[in-house]
């Protein structure tokens, strides 16, 4: 395996991905990610000099429209899915200490 994933990298990826891994999961993730990156490194065989990155296959542009309300008030329907609610608000842990 040419891509060795360090503890620091996995720690950092965990922060970016908002995932908490136990030690066993961390070791597995290091191995899996290293193997995948080894495989992905195959792309380096290709000369892509001067090739524009293609995010969309068709020339898509921003679609502009009037910001008009077309749906009904879905507040109650949306709040029905809330893990925790108080009246018409979502309850979340304290964010400002």
């Amino acid at each position: 395996m040419s891509n060795i994933i360090s503890d620091e990298t996995i720690e950092y990826v965990g922060i970016l991905a908002k995932l908490e891994l136990n030690d066993e999961e961390k070791e597995r993730a290091k191995k899996d990610m290293g193997e995948m990156l080894d495989y992905i490194d195959k792309l380096n065989e290709l000369d892509t000099t001067g090739v524009e990155p293609m995010s969309h296959v068709f020339p898509v542009n921003n679609v502009f429209r009037e910001d008009a309300v077309v749906n009904n008030d879905g507040r109650e329907a949306v709040l029905l899915n809330a893990p925790e609610r108080k009246e018409d608000c979502l309850v979340v842990p304290k964010t400002i200490v």
């Binding site: 990298t9 996995i10 950092y12 990826v13 965990g14 970016l16 991905a17 908002k18 995932l19 908490e20 891994l21 999961e25 993730a29 899996d32 990610m33 193997e35 995948m36 990156l37 495989y39 992905i40 490194d41 195959k42 792309l43 380096n44 065989e45 290709l46 892509t48 090739v51 524009e52 990155p53 293609m54 995010s55 969309h56 296959v57 068709f58 898509v60 921003n62 679609v63 429209r65 879905g74 329907a77 949306v78 029905l80 899915n81 809330a82 893990p83 925790e84 979502l90 979340v92 842990p93 304290k94 964010t95």
Partner: protein, 480 residues
């Protein structure tokens, strides 16, 4: 014979002619589900009560002449990553285990307008990440041809319930082969349309630049009929394309005289099961007998599609799945200490191993210092792959190959080695990268009695070519 042995269009015809009522059709599906689900596990949710209520309403609409569609009253199963109002939509994940959307996906609305009766939601790989339907949080789906084998994935539930005759037709979604590969494994027909043809509004996103919804059914006629109904230009999906050539059923013509079919040599090399190879090449010969012109050619970059795909799809997934944080809907962890700990614990408990693996890879390739080397490199590779297809379609009307390198593997064989599982998508993945339409049609059985799928790929917006070729093949083929 069960009504579920009929194709969707045949059943629709009988409903239209008043030979069968919509309620009888719905009950036939529900009875088949009762009889078979314990061995197949193709559904996450079966909504008996609402299906019957809906059937009554549709019957009334038909009686009053309000619905004239060829599939009015026919039962449908929807992959569980498409939102259905007030009906559980889990994406086969624990994190959405209790999620009842407040709206319905546009493709499903289009079906409802045509009188479809939704029977339930089908099992899938969690968030469509997988090729076997084993990563579902609600247990693996079994292949109806042999329940020791996987149905493929990620639309494994949709394909299995059609193969098992539990429902008339289904919707699936295809990000890297998730309609075509399980269709191949289950001996059913499935189309992945040109990117932008079917609205993604209400489809829970995995890789947004690759995801497309498509039909899964017993034959090409059903698929073309359903695709015609679900295709629409939708302002709510910014990548939706306005097309005026969606009369796909007009391509149900048994004639391939003069059609130029390219056979990429790279699709028949190392790693392809000899029995699959033989069946697919025999299918090509059948089309040749009908007047198609076959030619082998070199399709460049076949080996680079999978690594490019995993970078792009995982990058998009890491961003798309950031929304599952335990705040607005879905699962929230019980004990936590502050906001960030709540996010982390919710996601770590709510997502399965494969989803976490892909989110982490995606976060990594997008992170500062790696973005150019991985993400942009993959997007440049995608541009080259698209160019290779453009060159091929300058010469050919259709590209023909297998849908998958093997028939369905046994349950439990794939998950231990993710990379090996990813390699199973080699013939389907580049189609998504290039935004092309593709169809998988059954073309034989291997010595174990498992189905083999023929894949036909068309140029962008040329669904009609592949529908015509697939329909012509179906007409000459000795039925499975």
């Amino acid at each position: 014979m069960s009504l579920m042995s009929l194709t969707a269009v045949q059943l629709g015809e009988k409903i239209k002619n008043r030979e069968i009522s919509v309620i009888e059709a719905a009950n036939a599906a529900l009875d088949a589900i009762d009889a078979k689900e314990s061995s197949i596990n193709g559904f996450v949710t079966v909504d008996r009560e609402n299906a019957l209520k809906r059937a009554e309403k549709v019957q009334k609409d038909i009686d009053e002449g309000n619905i004239l569609s060829p599939i009015a009253g026919v039962p449908v199963a929807i992959k569980d990553n498409m939102c259905t109002k007030d009906m559980l939509t889990t994406c086969s994940s624990k994190i959405l285990g209790n999620f009842k959307p407040s709206y319905t996906a546009e493709a499903v609305i289009n079906l409802e307008k045509a009188g479809a009766v939704i029977i339930g939601k089908t099992n899938m790989d969690e968030f469509a990440m997988g090729s076997t339907t084993e990563t579902s949080a609600y247990g693996a789906t079994k292949n109806p041809w042999n329940t020791e084998h996987v149905p493929g994935g990620s639309s494994g539930g949709s394909c299995a319930v059609i193969a098992a005759e539990e429902c008339s037709y289904a919707l699936g979604s295809d990000t890297g082969g998730s309609i075509r590969q399980p269709s191949s494994f289950c001996g059913v027909t499935g189309i992945k349309p040109t990117y932008g043809t079917v609205s993604r509004y209400g489809l829970i996103a995995y890789g947004s630049s690759l995801d497309q919804i498509g039909p899964i059914a017993k034959d090409v006629t059903d698929c073309a009929t359903v695709l015609e109904i679900i295709s629409s230009h939708d302002k709510k999906d910014s990548t939706s394309i306005k097309r005026d050539d969606i009369d796909f059923t007009s391509a149900l013509v048994d004639d391939v005289k003069g059609m130029k079919i390219g056979i990429p040599k790279g699709y028949f090399g190392e790693g392809l099961d000899p029995e699959v190879k033989e069946a697919v090449l025999n299918a090509a010969k059948e089309l040749e007998k009908k007047g198609a012109i076959l030619e082998e050619f070199d399709l460049d970059l076949v080996d680079y599609a999978i690594p490019a795909y995993y970078v792009i799809a995982c990058a998009e997934a890491s961003s798309n799945l950031a929304r599952f944080d335990g705040v607005k809907y879905g699962y929230r962890t019980q004990d936590y200490n502050g906001l960030h700990n709540m996010y982390k614990k919710t996601r770590s408990e709510g997502f399965g191993a494969e989803v976490k693996r892909r989110i982490m890879l995606g976060s990594f390739v997008l992170s500062s210092g790696y973005y150019d080397a991985y993400y942009l490199k993959a997007l440049r590779t995608k541009a080259l792959i698209k160019k290779a297809f453009d060159e091929a379609f300058a010469k050919y009307d259709v590209i023909l190959g297998p849908a998958a390198p093997t028939t369905a593997p046994k349950l439990g064989e794939s998950l231990s080695d993710p990379l090996k599982m990813y390699l199973g998508d080699i013939y389907t993945i580049s189609v998504n990268l290039a935004g092309l339409p593709g169809i998988s049609v059954p073309c034989g059985l291997d010595c174990k009695g498992l189905p083999i799928g023929l894949q036909l790929i068309g140029d962008c917006f040329k669904e009609k070519n592949i529908i015509r070729a697939a329909y012509s093949f179906e007409k000459c083929e000795k039925k499975l």
